[in-house]
């Protein structure tokens, strides 16, 4: 049976609406992208550290399964070493805009960027 025969109009409607929703959401998110002012490091949802992003620094925090090292340099933050097995947090790369975050699930560590005002990033999900 040919593929075009089995795809129904419902399928097409679904595919088109997903693409439209994706485009709309991307536009709203990227319009609210601004350079951040602070790097916040959280372990188990509690903020451990809050550092200005324009400093150059390397911070070690102990998560639930070991050490995570965060490097802040050139207005960007990234995780440079972690005790977690998957290393997804290291592969996530650098972040610099308000609301961006690196999450290390096994180690319960979250690195995120905040603006000058504390709740600036809430705008993104509106």
């Amino acid at each position: 049976m040919q593929l075009c025969e089995i795809i129904t109009s419902g399928d097409k409607f679904l595919i088109v609406s997903i693409i439209l929703i994706t485009i709309l959401m991307s536009i709203t998110i990227f319009q609210h992208r601004d350079d951040g002012a602070y790097v916040v490091i959280e372990v188990d949802g509690k903020a451990i550290n809050r550092i200005r992003i324009d400093k150059t620094d390397t911070i070690s925090v102990s998560g639930s399964s070991g050490l995570t090292k965060v490097e802040i340099r050139n207005g960007k933050a990234r995780i440079i070493s972690s005790s977690c097995p998957s290393k997804f947090c290291i592969k996530s790369g650098s972040i610099k805009n308000i609301g961006q975050m690196i999450v290390c699930v096994p180690n319960h560590v979250v690195v995120r960027i905040e603006g000058e005002k504390k709740n600036n990033f809430d705008v993104i999900t509106e």
Binding site: G10, I29, G99, Q100, M101, V103, F121
Partner: protein, 179 residues
């Protein structure tokens, strides 16, 4: 039709089929752990092929058994049993199976296997994101990844449906091998 009643012969056949589907799902799941991905959290979800086949060959009951056994045994194999990763996989798997079987039962005229598979992938990703929010991150900022998840569910759902469709056709065409 309930696949779990009836005579002993057909029951044995169902058990063999489900075991095969679970095994195939497990292999695909392990395979996915090792293939490189552009972004760490995007997985094609090929193991969903086995769920979809169980749903089309049998019923919701069979599909949910395939999902739960696959997630549990898979977590033993990669060492994530009862981890957050395990809870995410279980939540996403069960929710997407529920949605796919509901859509297949009540909207099978509106959606083909493609629509059903895409809706399943969508449910899987959205439920996982909500679980990440509830269990781990608690920052509304993570929902900014949603557009990426939506578009990736579209592709992974379509790929899974493509494989499942051709496999189903193959089984339908093979002579004397009716389930």
């Amino acid at each position: 039709m309930n696949a779990f009643t009836g005579n002993i012969q057909s029951r044995n056949r169902v058990i063999v089929w489900l075991s095969l589907l679970i095994a195939v799902g497990l292999i695909l799941f392990i395979f996915e752990v090792y293939i490189p991905r552009p972004l760490p959290w995007l997985k094609p979800g090929l193991a969903n092929i086995s769920t979809l086949l169980a749903l089309y060959f049998f019923n919701f009951q069979a599909a949910i058994i395939v999902v739960i056994v696959r997630v549990v045994t898979g977590s033993f194999l990669v060492g994530t049993f009862l981890n957050p990763a395990f809870i995410l996989a279980m939540g996403g798997g069960v929710a997407s199976t529920l949605v796919m079987s509901l859509v297949k039962t009540y909207f099978s005229r509106t959606f083909s296997i493609f629509g059903i598979s895409i809706l399943g992938a969508l449910t899987h990703n959205i439920v996982q994101l909500i679980l990440v929010y509830l269990l781990i991150v608690r920052q509304p900022g993570i929902f900014s990844i949603l557009p990426l998840l939506l578009i990736s569910s579209l592709f992974s759902g379509a790929v899974v449906a493509l494989f499942s469709h051709y496999l189903l056709e193959k089984f339908k065409n093979s002579k004397g091998n009716s389930l």
